[in-house]
């Protein structure tokens, strides 16, 4: 019987059938970070358990660390406590940890693919909803809460209920100015922020096959913004070339054995999905969000909606509340809206290809005087690669800040925030109320769109900037 990639990975990892669609699933890898990792390991120990497979667990501080140039653990004192606890628990349990400044440190979902901690066909869990990012290499990766994390650490398994499957095929040639970020934002706008609830999404189609591995990570990153815990892309030669030789990639004969397994992963041509959709690439333009949910998104040439045109009264109230929070008038064009802050970073868009795309837009120009612009590379490795190419000079010359790796302004759990009322074009993944700081107004967009906004001081269409 034809099966999907998701089915194959799921079935292979079933330790026990628990009934009613539930399975006890084995986890090949667990990632932990500073915000919840130390506490979860502490709870495991206090309950009398040990970390079951410490060699399969990897830790990196990212959420509650400062991104200030020259930062230390102590720069954000509240986070320093979490970091100390993570260090102590990792040492006690024999878990590998990539500390600040070390190769391997950075945003957990940037580090896992770049170190080949995540591989095709693996199951991976982490106490962070953007764990779905890792599906870009062809893994089944999903976010969990604190209790599930304790369970995962103590048993290397999780009881999970089998989700449905949702395939989204992006077909055709990519129009100018359209990035992976624009593709996934357009999909969320079309299908809604809840469309993927209870689903595992597989992204497919000619435009996905043509993507770089880093672009696939961006695509999968926003799966959770469509409601799906899992997003994945079938592995192919692009994946294998990316992974070969990386730190934790199999080597020698093990690599050959892995390749043989990985080539059998992609969904069968006749496989059936619970839901199957096609998006024509020609229909996608550069995107920008206008509201406080990622589904509140438009082509950059669009405008803020008029609540009286909403399909129902509840939606009308919801749109009005979002417009009020965002300080936008109904029907206002997005282009030309004044921007105060620009953030290039996060597990969505902080890889070296993202930084190249942003630097490409600069062409010797400077940021608008009133704009604060931050570039936060996703990891120590990204930072080193970008600096080797001289990207940091180009950002610094344009008046951008070049900062240290971490979640920074995506999550505002680190003492860093966009000020109340300030408008920020951000390459991150959430435009929720208060996400980037109390009262902060977030517009999600691609790195190129964000860089262009910093130069213009307003939202602009990157295609003619």
């Amino acid at each position: 019987m034809p099966s999907t990639m998701f089915d194959r990975i799921w079935d292979q990892h079933v330790v026990a059938d628990l009934g009613e669609g539930w399975s006890l699933l084995y986890l090949d890898r667990i990632l932990v970070h500073d915000l919840s990792g130390g506490r979860a390991m502490q709870e495991v120990a206090e309950a009398g358990y040990k970390v079951a497979e410490p060699r399969h667990v990897f830790a990196t501080p990212d959420h509650a660390v400062s991104s200030a140039p020259g930062r230390t653990a102590e720069t954000f004192p509240v986070g320093a406590k979490l970091l100390k606890s993570l260090r102590a628990r990792c040492a006690a349990e024999g878990v590998r940890m990539f500390d600040l400044g070390q190769r391997g440190n950075g945003i957990v979902h940037v580090v896992a693919p770049e170190m080949a901690i995540v591989l095709p066909g693996l199951t991976l869990a982490c106490g962070d909803s953007h764990t779905c990012t890792n599906g870009g290499v062809g893994a089944m990766a999903f976010g969990i809460g604190a209790s599930e994390l304790s369970h995962a650490l103590a048993t290397q398994t999780l009881p999970q209920r089998r989700p449905g499957t949702f395939r989204i095929r992006f077909e055709g040639a990519r129009p100018a100015g359209v990035t992976a970020k624009d593709m996934i934002l357009a999909a969320i706008g079309r299908f809604s922020a809840a469309a993927g609830t209870g689903m595992a999404i597989e992204y497919a189609g000619s435009a996905v096959r043509a993507m770089s591995l880093e672009e696939r990570l961006t695509l999968c990153n926003l799966s959770i913004e469509m409601g799906a815990k899992v997003g994945m892309v079938a592995p192919d030669d692009t994946t294998f070339e990316y992974l070969a030789g990386r730190d934790f990639a199999p080597k020698g004969r093990a690599w050959e054995a892995a390749l043989a397994d990985w080539r059998r992963l992609p969904s069968d041509a006749e496989a059936r999905f619970t839901r199957d959709e096609v998006i024509e690439m020609a229909s996608i333009a550069p995107q920008i969000t206008w509201g406080t949910s990622p589904e509140q998104v438009t082509a950059v040439t669009g405008h803020a909606p008029r609540p009286e045109e909403a399909p129902d009264a509840a939606r009308a109230r919801n749109w009005q509340a979002a417009l009020d929070y965002m300080g936008l008038a109904p029907g206002q064009p997005l282009i030309g809206t004044k921007v105060d802050w620009v953030f290039i970073g996060s597990c969505t868009n902080s890889r070296v290809s993202d930084l190249r795309a942003a630097a490409e837009v600069l062409r010797g120009r400077k940021r608008a005087e009133h704009v604060t612009a931050w570039v936060v590379p996703g990891s120590e490795k990204v930072k080193a690669e970008a600096e080797a190419e001289g990207l940091h000079h180009r950002f610094l010359e344009a008046g951008f800040e070049w900062r240290e790796p971490g979640c920074a302004l995506c999550v505002s759990a680190n003492g860093e925030a966009v000020p109340p009322g300030a408008r920020c074009v951000s390459t991150s993944n959430r435009n929720f109320v208060g996400r980037q700081g109390t009262g902060a107004r977030t517009h999600l967009a691609s790195p190129a769109m964000a860089a262009a906004a910093a130069l213009a001081g307003t939202i602009v269409d990157v295609r003619n900037f």
Binding site: V15, G145, E148, P159, A193, G227, T438
Partner: protein, 209 residues
């Protein structure tokens, strides 16, 4: 690892009714960095709940009588979307909520609820609106009851609306069972799976050994 058992709850159902209520709004992340799980109640919905001077915002429905402190919250679709933070569940429970009724929930939030004894009930939006209307008709004495054992919501007018709940989760919640202890009963199956997999997929093990 601290599950409160759940049997029935009763109270005036709070008609929050918003869609896409994300876990960032339920509990700002700044509070999770510095506050323990038992201290989060006062910060639940912090950005909606308080005025700038720290006083209660009367426009926030859960602040109004008779809803204040009620264990039942009504919402529209995709409640608890976004971040995986379990603090959202701890904060809701800290403000007294034991059951959220919504047409759909964020998947991670939904799983987190069952880990702690907060019952998420899925009902069609029309039913939720009717519960809100019945409550609004006589807010002083309208009471809704959620009965997990019988899997029914009893509305203020006495209508019984059945709801689905996973059998496994229902038992765990009724009894307040610890998931880890349940899983470790499968220790032999886990060991057997590992032995099989190390033979079949040696590459997945050797690369991190």
């Amino acid at each position: 690892m601290a599950m409160q058992s759940f049997t029935t709850v009763t109270g005036p159902a709070i008609p929050l009714m918003a869609a896409n209520v994300d876990t960032d709004v339920i509990i700002p992340i700044q509070r999770l960095v510095g506050t323990g799980r038992d201290g989060l109640g006062p910060y639940a919905f912090e950005r909606l709940r308080y005025n700038k001077d720290g006083s209660d915002n009367p426009d926030f429905i859960p602040n109004r009588e008779p809803y204040r402190g009620s264990p039942i919250l009504l919402a529209a679709e995709n409640f608890g979307c976004g971040s995986s933070r379990e603090g959202a569940v701890w904060a809701l429970m800290g403000m007294g909520v034991r059951c959220v009724i919504a047409p759909s929930f964020g998947d991670i939030f939904f799983a987190n609820c069952f880990q702690n004894g907060l019952l998420p009930v899925r009902l069609p939006i029309e039913e939720i609106r009717r519960i809100a209307e019945e409550t609004g008709a006589s807010p002083g004495n309208a009471r809704t009851t959620v009965d997990l054992a019988r899997q029914v919501v009893v509305t203020p007018t006495g209508r019984e609306i059945p709801f689905q709940v996973d059998g496994r989760k229902k038992e765990a919640m009724l009894q307040g069972l610890d998931d880890i202890a349940m899983t470790l009963k499968q220790a032999d199956a886990i060991a057997a799976w590992k032995a099989r997999d190390q033979a079949a997929r040696g590459w997945a093990w050797e690369s991190v050994a």
